[in-house]
Symmetry: C2
Subunit: 100 residues, 2 copies
Amino acid sequence: MDQVEIFKALSNKTRLQILGWLKEPELNFPEQPNADFENVGVCVGQIQIKSGLSQSTISEYLSILQRADLISSTRLGQWTYYKRNKEGLKKLSEIINTEL
Amino acid sequence: MDQVEIFKALSNKTRLQILGWLKEPELNFPEQPNADFENVGVCVGQIQIKSGLSQSTISEYLSILQRADLISSTRLGQWTYYKRNKEGLKKLSEIINTEL
DNA sequence: TTGGCATATCGGGAAAAGTCGATATAAATT
DNA sequence: AATTTATATCGACTTTTCCCGATATGCCAA
């Protein structure tokens, strides 16, 4: 993954907020039946509601974050759940500490 | 400083390279008379040559990085020298580790 | 197998970023 | 004071990003 793409993914207020929300899902989203936050994450619809932006925009933002390895997704039935990708975030932190 | 602006500053190949070059100036730039790398940094002209982009573009890129607190400048005579801003970079690393 | 949700993808218009050459400013030199 | 050198700023053009509504796709339920 290109480093520039990682920083581009983070260059947007809403996308940064999404990552922040996903760090503490219990605090930021209502309970989800049949899908626990830790294992699968939060479904697109909840993130969209919280953001106030359109469905298509949030779907796109989530895939930008995913392409940058900052989040990962799981499909369960008709829902797609997204959660933080700890490895990707750790890698980013290392880039900053060792290359910049 | 807005977090988004920090990531925008890093969302460009050349600007990322500049930060990398400034991390090890002795390796990336020729000796400078009357200005040591550690204290004042590297002058704009050298960075411009290394980048291959136009003078105006590099001047602008340096001020974008400076506005994001990632580098700082010192004027000495007719030259402006830029160096990494360690505090800004540390703050960035903390943002990633605690907020994302 | 049709209808209804949840999500993804597409097409587009407006705003921002990338990059340049030309010009301005500021300092040093003659 | 005029010239040269280093850097900053301006105006313009092109490319990318933001964000939407419309449409497609995938999955489930009746």
